[in-house]
Subunit: 196 residues, 2 copies
Amino acid sequence: MEEFTIIRKYISQFLPFTEDEWQIHQALLVRRFLKKGEFLLKGGEVCNHVTFINKGHFRAYNVIDGDDITFNFAFEGNYVTDYTSFVSRRPSTDYIVAMENAEILQLTYDDLQAAYEKSPVWQKFGRLMAEFILIHISQRNKALLFNTPEERYLNLMKERPKVFERVPQQYIASYLGIKPESLSRIRKRLMEAKKV
Amino acid sequence: MEEFTIIRKYISQFLPFTEDEWQIHQALLVRRFLKKGEFLLKGGEVCNHVTFINKGHFRAYNVIDGDDITFNFAFEGNYVTDYTSFVSRRPSTDYIVAMENAEILQLTYDDLQAAYEKSPVWQKFGRLMAEFILIHISQRNKALLFNTPEERYLNLMKERPKVFERVPQQYIASYLGIKPESLSRIRKRLMEAKKV
DNA sequence: CGTTCAGTTGACTAAGGTCAATTCCCGTGG
DNA sequence: CCACGGGAATTGACCTTAGTCAACTGAACG
């Protein structure tokens, strides 16, 4: 059961659980493989899975007036989901696409709800998970409201340097809330400021 | 126990509970009164309460480079909290201030955690609450990333018209991510477009 | 009737958007 | 090994919109 090592370790950071409790959870996970370019979720669908990434990475974007705007990147060792659609059971506007061949573990909505009712540990995990996501979304929120694109760029460099190694700049640009040309100019500006 | 009517009804929208279960919760609520201008939370403090508003309304803002930027308004019949600070136990950067004399019901962090462990119903409520907040923060996130200030203005008019009746425009401006002068110009632009 | 403060307006600046042209990079096929 | 093609990134010229700072207006209040 090597494929469950990473997720088990990940979840155990959130709360302790017994072997039996883990077995309840593990039994619900389904392993899947996606090829580069395949979709985990498409706009219009209700997000019906929580997905843990064992290998590969994903990009989440929306299509606004014809062009796509990235709002998240997810790498191996993390979850990727439209949690809003997942919990509200409303259609998503998100597209989530594999940026490379990927191995994932999925849990359906119904199975997760059943786990919540069956075991207090998983109910609590659900709360901690929602709180965790909330904290991160809230930080992003404040970055968009309080910081300039340039500040957001520098921050992303500092906080998530991996993104720059693995994601084309055009996607980073829209993640920062600007166009690719503008990101290019911000980079140039910073380079020149550094040089002098 | 008239002061618990609204909150009880509010919570019962999220999940059912028995009279006994309610008594556990209600016993933890402390009623307080705040005068206009008093603070519920100040930057640097760890948010130690979840607050339900019985009367009055609040404004939450951050101080960035000397001027304050509003990121939320909360009215009676809703909760107001820096939930991020509350669950992470880290100092908040938020200021939350009473816009008028207010009556509130507060629940401390420790009491809430105890309720989580004591009763599965409240554990579940904690999850639903976090999910609920998450959905709203996420929507705001997308508005900031996908929409122009003008679109956000029109949207706010449609979705939360109450805000315009009760909140000075300068605060609405920063909530929309712009300066008061810019909001004034956007309004003018829309007026003239409508006229012609 | 004056003070105060929010809101508006004007003139100008700064920064990102738009569109088109160019360069760079990298993989493929001759 | 080199030439070519195509997508990504950069650059240039110009446009649009928000920011800045200051002046003005108007309503609320004492």
